[in-house]
Amino acid sequence: MSALLEVANLSTHFHSGGHLVRAVDGVSFTLDAGGVLGIVGESGCGKSVAAMSILRLIDGKPGVVAGDIQFDGQDLRVLDESGMRKVRGGKIGMIFQEPMTSLNPVLTVGRQITEAIRLDGSFSNAEARDRAVELLRLVRIAEAEKRLDDYPHHFSGGMRQRVMIALALSRSPKLLIADEPTTALDVTVQAQILDLLLDLRDRLGMAIILITHDLGVVAETCERALVMYAGRKIEEASVADLFASPLHPYTRGLMNSVPRLGDETSRRRRLLEIPGVVPSPAAMPSGCRFAPRCRLAEDRCRAAYPQWRAYGAGHFAACWRAGEAPHD
């Protein structure tokens, strides 16, 4: 199967306060049609900036984007702005953490969805309205027809996220980028939304990139995942392999530092800590960026950035000691 999205060596750098901030530094990945890829990492690791860079939502002036982005047979890096506008909200839909900031508060939900549908010009007003009802039903909003005339503030948080998903689906995207789509939601509603996203993937065959800080969300919804730290991709694997045998000490640290629900052995036991904090973008370590916090770090880790290497089929990591590192 040929890839739907191929990102090679993506870098996004900003100039900020006299420093060069390497928000995303040489990140590559591919995503097949209908696949679900998780990008996981803590705040500031570059996961959102990477997604925004793909959609060219990073302002050209202060930001410098480099690399190669092939999507559905198109080279997004050479596409002009009007072509790019067709991709955004067309073949690539996007949803964010806070749906309220992406919806227009003074327009009814129906108006916003029909407008989006009519953007490609092939629907009449009445057809667009029918399609909007269909979309709201698709995202399981009850009494869809009536709710078209409601304003965003009439909807609860979870319902707003459903409206956002309906909007993102309005022009049948091949890829949905979901940036922390459930972080602001309660846990029972989060479960509903994740369930909905997977169901839509199955029914519509679109691929999903799920950006999150929550390893549980990745384990439950994704097929492959890449872990980012300080702007770099540090590990990539199928979700089964990543959780069964994480290679990078940072990935392992993340997994060990969160208590697990229903795990009797971890109750009131000390959690394993990752000491220290993420390096400041203005003062990145020269070698491995995780070395200052890594218990396994040695001289070569501080001297040179580790190579990206395969450790089994489809399992990659950037760590000098990935193969030999003992488990915690």
């Binding site: 803590e42 705040s43 609860s156 948080g157 979870g158 319902m159 309660d186 846990v187 029972t188 509603v189 989060q190 479960a191 509903q192 994740l194 369930d195 800080h213 929550d214 390893l215 549980g216 969300v217 384990a219 439950e220 919804t221 979700v239 089964a240 959780f243 069964a244 640290g253 993340l254 997994m255 530092s257 969160v258 208590p259 697990r260 629900l261 229903g262 009797e264 971890s266 109750r267 009131r268 036991r269 000390r270 959690l271 394993l272 800590e273 990752i274 000491p275 904090v277 993420v278």
Partner: protein, 338 residues
């Protein structure tokens, strides 16, 4: 004489009046509606629930950041719910609070040392060299460096700011620290540091924590007992192991089932509950959970269930899981209900 519990909350109510509509009756937000529980010295009680369930309001009523509408809050046997601020002041030595967002709870113009010293000065507990020594000791206690004494809050990372908030709470040697979502604003790698610190402090100083959080795994990790709230009421309260190993209330079950498991081999059995939390302005009649409950029956819509004990220390408010009949048939009922 038996010692009074550290904290006894009885029938705590907090209602907020909304402005009256043009014609309608005055509307009231039922933020907390008759919450009762006790806490012993040195224990951690986890208080969980989804947004709007009233857990933070309970926490803030206890330290009197919010004036309760009615009910009693006894600290060491003394009711503080309606004390005048002048009489409340000495009680605050026993009751401290740590907030979710340490940045907005620390004065940005003050130096870190002064922030931690402030409660000691306010209560006249130390001055001069003794004050300096105590502040330095607190810094060390929470894992901050002495050379950071003169830094201002913005020079600290999120985790360090939370350490600073904890040091300030510790300064007056409280018996109880109310922790209101203390780690939810922190990255996971930093969360573990703060959770471990809280555990160490409890072990060494015998502190009690009322730990308010929405993250069930964190609450399971840190608590001795757990209370689950839904729409202003406690629906289940139990020792930690009982609650997580054998949850009884359908809402507790639903909450636990909804948490994504960080183990792909163990994908959640999708037993999703429908809908979202109803508005606390007009909570459903009868059992407040009945609109989303997978096992609700006719009476659940009419009659509000009361908390009933089904095992030592394990109370549940559910007509079906904790019915008003003998213990044996209660158990039977619970089994058939599954």
């Amino acid at each position: 004489m038996t010692e009074a519990p550290l904290l006894e909350v009885e029938n705590l109510v907090k209602h907020y009046a909304l402005s009256r509509g043009w014609f309608g009756a005055p509307r009231v937000v039922h933020a907390v509606d008759g919450v009762s529980f006790n806490m012993e010295r040195g224990e951690t009680l986890g208080l969980v629930g989804e947004s709007g369930c009233g857990k933070s309001t309970v926490a803030r009523c206890i330290v009197r950041l919010i004036e309760p509408t009615s009910g009693s809050i006894k600290v060491n046997g003394r009711d503080v719910a309606h004390l005048a601020e002048r009489d409340m002041r000495p009680m605050r030595r026993d009751l401290q609070i740590v907030f979710q967002d340490p940045f907005s709870s620390l004065n940005p113009r003050h130096r870190a040392g002064a922030i931690v010293a402030e409660p000691l000065v306010n209560f006249g507990l130390a001055e001069g060299a003794e004050l300096e020594r105590r502040v330095a000791e607190l810094f060390e206690r929470v894992g901050l460096r002495k050379d950071q004494l003169n830094n201002r809050p913005h020079e600290f990372s999120g985790g360090q700011r939370q350490r600073l908030g904890i040091a300030r709470a510790l300064a007056v040697n409280p018996a109880l620290i109310v922790c209101d979502e203390p780690v939810s604003a922190l990255d996971v790698s930093i969360q573990a540091q703060v959770i471990n610190l809280l555990g160490d402090l409890q072990r060494d100083l015998g502190l009690a924590y009322l730990f308010v959080a929405h993250d069930l795994a964190v609450v399971e990790h840190i608590s001795h007992r757990v209370a689950v709230m839904y729409l202003g009421e406690i629906v289940e309260i139990a020792p930690r192991d009982d609650l997580f190993d054998a949850p009884q209330h359908p809402y507790t079950e639903a909450l636990l089932a909804a948490v994504p498991s960080p183990d792909p081999r163990n994908k959640r059995k999708r037993r999703l509950i429908e809908g979202e939390v109803p508005s606390p302005i007009s909570p459903p009649a009868g059992c407040r959970f009945h609109t989303r409950c997978p096992i609700a029956e006719a009476r659940c819509k009419l009659e509000a269930p009361r908390l009933r004990a089904i095992a030592p220390g394990h109370e549940v408010a559910c007509h079906l899981r904790a019915p008003r009949i003998s213990g044996k048939s209660a158990k039977l009922n619970a089994e058939t209900a599954r």
